[in-house]
Symmetry: C2
Subunit: 203 residues, 2 copies
DNA sequence: GTCTATATGCAGATAGAC
DNA sequence: GTCTATCTGCATATAGAC
């Protein structure tokens, strides 16, 4: 599709993700889309409504297809592997998504409340994921702590990329690329080790 | 101290940390400080300069006292424990600092380049921290991967607090508080387990 | 140092021609 | 649907009195 609305969405996504709601300029979005400001307001009545469309789309992508993963009905180790793989696939193609979603949710947490009202299915999916680690011999004392550690290890490097780039890797882009290339397998190994350790400790 | 400059700094910190550079309003900062806008410009020539002062201060706090930790000269396990403890102490008193610093660094990564030019000591401290895990029998293949996993597990929950609050814990503030209360010891245990696992694997 | 009043510029939004 | 021109309001910043 190459119609005007699509061009606007694409341009708005780029600008909003890069600069946030407050930092974005309608003029810049218009320029990126190759149109003028008035047309933006013709398609989306206001900056806020345009932003809402972009944010909703981003939020959907960011909360991964946890359902499909769980529905696959494998054991916890396999599910973890699949989950990490699916998440990295999304992040590698949208490396700036996490900072965008998380940043805007921090600016306006009330947004989440309304979102949650619509997506009641989401929380029950999370519950299912948690309960996985309390079945089949994985009687984790703290499934939430484990799950959040896992998500932290996956997402945080994408959010903190500028810090990695400049402080850890001193501006060496090759080292940064290498780090992200190896990250998925490292996180998978770590997660499985943590799971195994908790077994040994009879948690 | 209760002079005007201090009042401005305190007010600016609150507003900038909550709303970011673009979202903050000089009027709101003035109101918070109990003065008027003109006085802000009298003390700090522009919004940008006021922001720079706040950001620099925040950045200093956010990059923890890694030096002191390392200088303590203990073994890796002890250093990890001390490091985690020090970091949590900072974060518990400044829970919104990470999102502020990381968010602004993503909006304007060039900021870091100039910062790094000044703080040359910082990168060498990071190097020292890394080399720790390649000595004393901890010949980790990927000290960076380990270090970043550790930092991820510490910081990310603070950044993603709105998501934890609404999606994982369904708005139950008590569960959120309990999670953060237990987080430090959970991360410490996890980090030591990962270190031990890498030993067993002869990495 | 601190205030009120004002200048200046810019961004979001609209009017109206084509 | 798409454009140019314009309105409106607001935010940063300054002028100048006290």
């Amino acid at each position: 599709m190459d119609n005007t609305e699509t061009k606007i969405i694409d341009a708005a996504r780029r600008v909003f993700v890069a600069k946030g709601l407050d930092g974005a300029r309608m003029q810049e979005i218009a320029d990126e889309a190759g149109i003028n400001k008035a047309l933006l307001h013709y398609y989306f009545r206001s900056k806020q409504k345009l932003f809402d469309a972009i944010f909703e789309e981003a939020f959907q992508q960011f909360i991964p297809t946890m359902g499909a993963t769980i529905a696959s009905g494998k054991n916890p180790q396999e599910i973890i592997t699949i989950f990490i793989d699916a998440y990295f696939r999304v992040l590698e193609q949208n490396p700036f998504l996490p900072q965008f979603v998380i940043g805007e949710l921090n600016r306006d947490p009330s947004r989440l409340a309304t979102f949650m009202a619509e997506k009641i299915g989401l929380t029950s999916l999370v519950d299912k994921a948690m309960s996985l680690f309390q079945n089949e011999g994985f009687n984790l004392k703290n499934p939430q702590q484990f799950m959040i550690s896992l998500i932290s290890m996956i997402i945080f490097p994408f959010v903190a990329k500028p810090i990695l780039h400049h402080i850890i890797f001193k501006g060496d882009q090759l080292l940064v690329d290498q780090f992200f290339a190896e990250r998925k397998s490292y996180v998978t190994t770590s997660a499985l080790q943590l799971l195994a350790s908790s077994l040994n400790e009879n948690n």
